[in-house]
Structure formats: structure tokens, C-alpha cells
Symmetry: C2
Subunit: 454 residues, 2 copies
């Protein structure tokens, strides 16, 4: 019996093979698409459905690509010829919300924003805050080890997950991690699964570590600088001074111009770069004042707002960056991350690469944690060779500065060719061997992350 | 040539075989000792020494037990017949302290307390705060995934390590992790190494995530309750109310009595249990007041102090628990951890086990995170069967309540026989296979954690 027949026999109407479903599963928000069309999209609604798919996949040696909302930016969930797409988007249940234990137990398909709407009724929130929070799933956040705007103060996804339920390649279900704050029984497989991009198993449930909603006001400081290097130096000075913003976002001149055009706002001063900083918690106001003083000392034209809605309006400019870039063409969004003190030097490297390759590289940064998103915009669906060459320079510069290829988007297909450069061959081989323990047949997201050929 | 000759030829005076050195390496602070004496203790002073030892061990298939200060409580660093002890206690260098990037790069043998003394000059600290902080090493903290008193507010060791340098069983050196806040290149092997108890490799360096020293005053709230269950319910109420103490420690009547006797303090009220709570940061005073109100509402006799030294004096009572127990006999310190709402129920279980087995189980708890340390005290060096039977009941109760065998001490030899009960056979086998990827010959701390026989 064919794989498709086996899936249909076992899962019936959950199996979609219409052209639109198959086509949609080829690409993510990176704009890049897999070669060919997948075999089918299975819309799992329960853990058992996931197990059934994996048993069939194991029996027939068929590759499986797990998919949430498809908002990834590294091509990690793109599915091509002969692959089964296992969509978890319908698994959206919240099984438990425990204000007394500060945890929630959820299914992977729920959107961050929807979860946080529910949690807010209990005075709680789950901190991971990627720019895609309104459209990305908790499971996708876990699979990529997502970051976002709040990480310097409130941590990354790894810090916000206590346990995961994982279906293995052969269909067995494991419960990893704990419901308690502490727990050191054996190896920390929960942390290993976070950021593993669908290569170790299928996350079918998660026990999330929650926080109380932060009481008090939120203050927003914006500052405009004559150029991006001055803005980067000012943001590094904020970190070095010991104040802890909740959010510290940097936009260069090209990014600002693109977003202002998209939102029909008046054009910004040519060449000017901007920092948008938020403080929260009991010391919000004094921290905002301290930050404003630092920015002014760095020649930033600085405005402080104590109005939460005004703050959201100011941040909406930053959150519109990805649509603004997408409106200009196909975008390769890079994601290098460097120690915070190295941010000015990283912007120097970007300026150098812009000059050498004769292309603009509009860049925004989560300046509070040193994570930069340089954008390459081009026509068509294939990244041109000179863009890859410029990106290659970018990666090498980040690694030279003590940084990394990817702070929060992951490796997927778009960065697999550089993974061994950063890890070194010994570690790269070790990681592959660990993945093979979970997936001895190599059916989980093959060609992604650890694929040697690019 | 014998293993010892190879070690001496390669490492000369770093190799100790005197009776005192060998005897000391047989035991940790659990009071339990390995069978027989190890072959030698190698006092590594540089990474190359560690690599030399591992190459010899691999070539000769000799087991290696890595050791820091020997303050562990699960027997994980106890070395017996035929084993090489690889001591990292002399590797105490601090290579970098970076206030601008909030990180430090250190060698594993430095004591937490010594590191924090150095960091304080830069206005920084490394949060892991086990009760042993004055005598335990950073490397030991990483190997066990240590916890301590501050975890609910400031996290566990896994949250405070950005990267580790790891020497593999065959002597190769890997650099795992990042210097940046974010980084998702491949699998998170740094997190996998944290808490791996010497089974995956030798941690020869660490990049630590630091915090700024918390400004402002520290407030201390103490409250006395008629019994331990009332104290546990009050502490759970503090967590459920949404205030976040830095420290929340609970001591039952037997613990209080033992510590008061050790410190020559007046005997406490019979049967009374105590909570000692500290708040810090900008809201320290208002949080202390809110906590005091909750404790009073739970019939606690409550005192608030705003004096930092008085607070340290009050906490010294809690920090004297281990010496107080040790003064009574050999101690088996258990380490179960449960969701915070389950703490009162866990104390009910402890009371039941005390009744059923006719033994006292003096218990302290890191009540802010649900981590309990029930103590069994006995004569001699071998844990008597009825104590193991009582401990077995304790573990099963903790797991039933959604908790875990060990919150922060690890599995070592003392809990290996229960590991598969908590993980399930499938996960236990998977963990063993992952360890075998790192250590295919099984020479790294054999008999610990994953050993099937107990």
C-alpha cells in the first residue's frame, strides 16, 4: 500500500492533498521554498494522530516535516517532494493554567498571542515575544528556540519551558522535564529539544514557565542619532551602565525609511538611526530617566513617554519592519548575534560589506541583547550568489567578534552550510550523532540543520 | 606500561598516590564512600593536563572520575578501585570579567564564593547560591546543575551558563555555547552538559552569565508557625499571591532544634516551624510588608527586619542545617522537588512516612521553589535498609505529586536505582544512548547516574 493510502486509511479526513495545502507547506516567511511538492499535509488534532503518522513514516521510511504556523525565517519547516507534512496547527488546547505554580500545560499549535490573552485573565504571561508573536505558535517558538524583543530582561524560550512531551520518530511518546522549578534527574533533554528544529522528535505538548504580569507603568524612551554607529554605541553604553530595559530596539536609516513609507508616516531625517527603549516594573520611571541621560550624553535627541499606548505606537514602527522589507521584494533576513559590547564593531562590518558589495543592508537590532537582523532584499525566489557572498562575510564577521550565525531564527536550510564553520567539525559530528540517537532512520526533517550539502 | 606509569611519565608531580589523597577521593559530603581506593589523583593545572589524562584513559580503557571540591551529596564524584581521579581544584583562573557584556570566563575549580568576591569589585555577581557556596566549585555547580536558595527569583545554574569548554573522553576539546545572550546554532549542548554529573566530558572552562549586584536594601521576614504544615501552606500562599521573594526557606521543628543546639542558641518552641524570607530590589520593602501580611493571615508570628546584617544572621541558622545534621550522625540528605502548590501535601507524606517507619525525618525546604531536603540520620557509613525503604516511599510520593527525585543534588550513586522510575524506561534508554555518543567506551564516571545495577 502506498504511504498516502496508509495515511488515509489511518487518519481519514485529516489528510489533505489539495494543491493549495501542498503549495503552502513548501515555504515559510523567509520567502524560500522547497523543491517539489510534499506528499500530503496531515492535520493532527490529538497526540495519537501524531503517533500514527510517525509509525507510518517509520514503517515506510518516509521523511516528515513538522509544521506550526509557517512563520519561520530559515526554511526549517519547508516541505518538498515525497515528504509528509505534519501540521500541529489544530492542536491549540490549554490543558492547565496554574497561577499557584506559575505554569501552564498547552498543546503546540496555540499562538503566543492567544495564549497570552488567556493567561492575562489570571494575571500571568509567557515571556517569549518574537516579532511574530501574533502569528507564531508556541510549538514553533520551542522548535526554533525563539527570542524576540524582551530577552535581555526576561530570557529566551529555553528559560521559559519546564518540560515537553515528545513523540519520537517511531511513534513512542516521552515526557521530558518537570513541573517543579528545579529538577536534575538525568540529562536535560527538554533543553536539548528547544531549538532542535524538528530534528529530534515532535513536540506535542509543553509545560511552560510563566511570570506574573509586571505591575506598574511602562516608560518608553526614543532617541534619534545622526548615524547607526552612534546609536549602537549609545545602546551598548546603556547595558554597560547597569540599567536593564525590558526592550531596546535599534533601527538604521534604511529600515526607518522603509517602515515610514509602509505606514505612510512623514519621511525620517536622512541618515538618522533610532533607539526605542522600554522600561517596566517598580523602577520603570527612574530607569527611563537614567537611560535618557545616557542617550543624551551620546548626542541622542531623546524623548521620554510615560504613556503605555504611546509606547505601543512607537514600538509598532519596529514591529512593522518585516512587512516593510517584504513590500520591497524577497527578503533574506539575517540574524547574527554578538556580545553587546561588539555591536558598534558589527555595524562597522555591515557598512564595510555594503560598500564592498555595493548593496544596501537595512538593519534592525535587538540592541539589548546584541542580536542584529541585517536584511538583503532582491527580486525572485532564489537568493542571488552575490547576496550569499555578502551574507557569508556577515557570518564570518559575527563569529570573529565572538558572536553566532543565528540568535533566534535557527539554521533550517538557509544557514546549514555555515553551521560546521561555527561549531567546528568535531562538535558538528557529535550533534549529528546525537540527532541520530533520536532519529536513527533520518526521517525527521532531513536536509535541515545538519545536512552536509547545501 | 601500567596506567600509573603512563600518568607519571606524562604528568609527573601532578600525580598523587599518597594514602590521604586516595582516601579523600573515595567520598563526598554525603558521607558515602566508594568501594576500594582509586589508582591515583591527578591535579590538573591546565586544559592540556586534562587532555593528557583523557588520552591515557581512552588508550587504556581506564575509568575517570572528575572531581572539584568534593562537596556533592549524591556520591557522583566518589572514586573507587582502579579509577583515575581527575581533580580540577587547582584550575581557578578567572580569564575575563566583562561588565559591558555581563559575562565572565573562568576555570572550573574556582569556588563560587571566591568568584563572587572578585565579581563584586565590578558590581557583578553569579547567582547560583547552593548552601555550599563557600566551599563548592563553579565546575561542580555546573556538573550537578546546582540550585540553592535564590532559584525562584534568580534561576538555576542552567540559566547562568552561556557556554562550556568540554574535553571529551578521547581528549578532544570542544567549545560549546556562546558569548552572546542569544544563540541557536544547532543543539544546545551547553544545557545538556549542565547537570550531566561527569558522564559526558570534563568541563575545563565556562562562560558565565552574570547579573548586576541588586541595588537597594534587603528585607528579611521571619515567621513562626505552630507546625510545619501551616508554614508550608503559608509559603505556598506567598507564591500564589504573586510576590517574589529572593529567598524563602522553611525549617521544621526537628531541624530548628538541631541547629539551635549546634549554635548554642536557646531551644525553639517545641513543634514550631519557621519561615525565613528575604526580599530585595527596588520593591524590597513593599514586598516584605505584603509577605508579612500573608504570613500573619496564616497565623504566623511575624517579624520584619530592614537590616542586612540581621538578615544574614537569621539566614545563618538555615545555612547551618547540614553541619547540624552531620553532628548527629551519617546523613542521607534527600532532595525531592514538587510544584509549589504541592508542598503542604508533601509535608503530609513526610509525616506519614515518619509514622510508618518510626523514624524522625528533619526537613528543610527551599519553599520558594518547592525543593525539600528531608534528612535521614543514622550510625555508620552504610544507609540501613529501612532508611532506603523510607526514602523509596518519599521518592514515590514526590513523583505522585508531580515532582522529581532530585531538585539540585543529582543522581550520582545514591539515586541511580530510582532514575528509570521517574524517566520511564524509554527515556532512560535514550539518555544512556546519548551519553554513549559522548563516551563510547564508558570510561567517564561509570556506575554513576545511568548504571543499571544499584
Amino acid at each position: 500500500m502506498s504511504v498516502l493510502s496508509l495515511l488515509r486509511e489511518s487518519l481519514g479526513a485529516l489528510v489533505a492533498t489539495d494543491a493549495a495545502s501542498l503549495e503552502e507547506a513548501r515555504a515559510d516567511r523567509s520567502g524560500h521554498a522547497a523543491t517539489g511538492r510534499p506528499l500530503a499535509v496531515v492535520h493532527a488534532e490529538r497526540v495519537e494522530h501524531v503517533q500514527q503518522v510517525m509509525r507510518i513514516a517509520t514503517a515506510t521510511r518516509t521523511p516528515v516535516v513538522v509544521r506550526g504556523a509557517g512563520t519561520g525565517l530559515a526554511g526549517a519547516a519547508n516541505a518538498g517532494t515525497g515528504e509528509i507534512v505534519l501540521s500541529l496547527r489544530r492542536m491549540t488546547a490549554i490543558h492547565e493554567i496554574r497561577p499557584d505554580d506559575l505554569l501552564a500545560v498547552v498543546e503546540p499549535g496555540i499562538l503566543n498571542a492567544d495564549l497570552n490573552t488567556e493567561l492575562a485573565d489570571h494575571g500571568l504571561w509567557w515571556p517569549p515575544d518574537p516579532a511574530s508573536r501574533d502569528i507564531s505558535t508556541v510549538g514553533g517558538n520551542i522548535a526554533t528556540g525563539a527570542g524576540g524583543l524582551l530577552c535581555a530582561k526576561y530570557g529566551v524560550v529555553r528559560d521559559a519551558v519546564l518540560g515537553v512531551d515528545l513523540v519520537l520518530a517511531d511513534g513512542r511518546l516521552l515526557h521530558l522535564g518537570h513541573r517543579s522549578v528545579k529538577g536534575v534527574t538525568g540529562l536535560d533533554l527538554t533543553a536539548l529539544v528547544v531549538g532542535s528544529e524538528g530534528t529530534l522528535g515532535v513536540v506535542v505538548g509543553a509545560t511552560l514557565k510563566l511570570r506574573r504580569l509586571v505591575p506598574g507603568e511602562t516608560c518608553t524612551v526614543t532617541a534619534t542619532f545622526p548615524g547607526v554607529r552612534a546609536a549602537a554605541a549609545a545602546s551598548a553604553a546603556v547595558t554597560a551602565a547597569g540599567v536593564q530595559p525590558a526592550i531596546m530596539e535599534l533601527m538604521d536609516a534604511a529600515s526607518l525609511a522603509a517602515v515610514h513609507a509602509l505606514l505612510d508616516l512623514p519621511a525620517p531625517t536622512p541618515g538618522a538611526a533610532q533607539l526605542t527603549i522600554q522600561t517596566d516594573g517598580p523602577a520603570a520611571r527612574s530607569e527611563a530617566d537614567a537611560i535618557a541621560a545616557i542617550l543624551q550624553a551620546h548626542d541622542g535627541v531623546t524623548v521620554v513617554s510615560h504613556d503605555r499606548e504611546e509606547g505601543e505606537r512607537l514600538l509598532a514602527i519596529r514591529r512593522s519592519m518585516h512587512p516593510a522589507m517584504a513590500s520591497l521584494g524577497t527578503t533574506l533576513i539575517e540574524d547574527v548575534s554578538v556580545p553587546r559590547s561588539a555591536m558598534p564593531a558589527m555595524f562597522d562590518e555591515i557598512a564595510r560589506i555594503e560598500r564592498e558589495y555595493g548593496i544596501p543592508i537595512p538593519t534592525v537590532a535587538h540592541a539589548g541583547d546584541g542580536n542584529l537582523h541585517p536584511n538583503f532584499v532582491f527580486e525572485g525566489t532564489e537568493t542571488p550568489p552575490h547576496v550569499w557572498a555578502a551574507a557569508d562575510e556577515l557570518f564570518r564577521a559575527a563569529i570573529r567578534l565572538g558572536g553566532t550565525l543565528t540568535g533566534e531564527h535557527g539554521i533550517g536550510v538557509l544557514k546549514r552550510r555555515w553551521l560546521a564553520d561555527e561549531l567546528g567539525d568535531d562538535q558538528w559530528q557529535l550533534q549529528r550523532q546525537i540527532a541520530a540517537v533520536f532519529d536513527p532512520l533520518g526521517i525527521l526533517n532531513p536536509g535541515k540543520v545538519f545536512s552536509p550539502d547545501a
